[in-house]
Amino acid sequence: MTGMGPEVIFYSLALLLLLVLLGVHVGIALGLASVVGVYLSYDDVNIALSILGSTAYESIRSNSLAVIPLFMLMGEVLSKSGAARDLYLLCNRAMSFIPGRLAAATVLGNAAFAAVSGVAIASAATFSRIAYPEMIKLGYNRSYALGVIAGSGSLGMLIPPSVLLIVWAILTEGSVGALFLGGVIPGLLLGTVFIAYCAIAAYRNPTIAPKGDVTFQESNTFESLKSGLGILALVALVLGGIWLGVFTPTEAAGFGALGSLLVGLLKGMKKDDFLEAIYNAGKSTAPIMFLLIAGSMYSRLLAVSGGVGLIQDLFISLGYGPVGIIFVMTVIWLLLGTIVDSISDILLTVPIFYPIAMAAGMNDVAFAIYGVLIIEAGLLTPPLGLLIFAVKSAVPDPEVTLKDIFVGSIPYWIMMIGVALLVISFPSLASWLPSNALG
């Protein structure tokens, strides 16, 4: 007996979604659905099982994947060093002429901090602890304060080094460096729009962000200058190195990780602090790497079963054209984003969507940035807005409700979708920098 044709993909997709919804670990669900899919295709248990062993060994044996553990380590060490707080202080000085300066400083601080850490959730949590108490002390409106923290946390996924962009590049066999550089202009644009919103809202309704002198506890200008500049130097080293072609992303990550250890030493981190940072970095790295392995199993199934071609034909037969295709993908991303985290969202959809988008003639970098923006916006929507929950659990104020945070972050959601639409309409916003820098 021979196996099934490409329609096997629908059975394995159904199984995958069912397992994920029932709460099975996403990576495990991806792997098992792939095994079942390959079994149905070949009608042979050994071939089906071999996908597990061979993918486990081959899929992440790559130099470029070393960026994930290295950047995670860099982010954890810098969080632990307390440098983020100094950075916030520095940004607050830089923004002193703007209405709602503490909110604007939160955006700027998040953007700068995001440039040295790979995960949006981490920076949202960090700034919940640092920025929120300062804003409340000055009498800022609660929703306004919470919104800017949750919203600007999402900047992290656009500003390199971003784990989402790395995962995307690996899945599509694209260049990590190109996606990193592609995220820079849209990231700066989004940051600028966020800051403009903070300022305009505070200008039109001064009661939500009263002016006043900021008196940070234990603030020490020299200290904050030192580590703030340390972080900026790391950003310049990592991004500048990739940009100028001195470093591959992996090399930049290696230098960044060592540089973060240096900043940590300068900030007086002790042995136990370092150990804790290393431990935490490992804790957040392993599940992501495992998802990548499982995601490649699923990609293999899509390839061997011919499922991608089938779904591609289905999309084309809808007769919507590129705009319609993008619309359908956007809806699926947003819906899926309500039940799974962003990395899983990418792993489940991009192996299918990417070839379709390329066949429709879209620019690969712009499509990636668009996708990441949409998926990241999903982190702000109920019921599973991970950023919302991260802020809720990190904010040192038990009276804050999830609704406060949701309401405050709606404007940021709208701005993100707006910038995403700009990027897909004017792809050169994303593709110009990488094509000029990397040739």
Partner: protein, 163 residues
């Protein structure tokens, strides 16, 4: 009980070793890049070491990720269920994990033995790295992960019996 604690401690130790290994990677990259730019002699075998390290670090960290519940899942539907159904769903989760890693370990055995038998190497010239250590590491850690899921399932079962 002390047995299971010893196993979890073991997974913690392995985790710390592999997490610290990342720093070693950074140092290797540092030496490699400086060597290439300033002395035009890149570090021999750096690329092979990094590649194999990525796989090893990941698999060494998986058991603790399972024990600490940091494997990514969604609890959207789970949260809406009654405690009894939640217990069934947890069992499903553990069984799926167990099957996955058992399958991974099982299907890795033949290729690993073959790699050992024919002395499969990679890299060229003076530095050739054998592939079997990483292959066997995957088998060992996958069995460890299988056991972790099994142990959690049994623990969960006993706990729900008691309550």
């Amino acid at each position: 009980m002390s047995d299971s604690n010893a196993i979890i401690k073991l997974s913690e130790r392995i985790h710390v070793v592999s997490a610290s290994w990342v720093i070693l990677l950074a140092v290797i990259i540092f030496i490699d890049v400086l060597g290439r730019y300033f002395f035009s002699t890149p570090l021999l075998g750096a690329s092979e070491v990094i590649k194999n390290s990525v796989v090893s670090i990941t698999f060494l960290q998986i058991p603790l990720a399972i024990y600490r519940g940091s494997m990514i899942r969604t609890t959207l539907i789970y949260d809406l269920m009654s405690p009894k159904i939640q217990a069934y769903l947890r069992t499903l989760m553990y069984v799926c994990g167990l099957l996955f890693f058992l399958g991974t370990a099982w299907s890795s055995i033949d290729p690993s033995i073959e790699a050992f038998a024919v002395s499969e190497y990679e890299g060229e010239g003076a530095l050739r790295v054998p592939t079997y250590p990483v292959r066997f590491l995957i088998i060992l850690t996958s069995f460890f992960a299988t056991y972790a899921y099994f142990q959690l399932m049994v623990k969960d079962f006993i706990a729900s019996r008691k309550s």
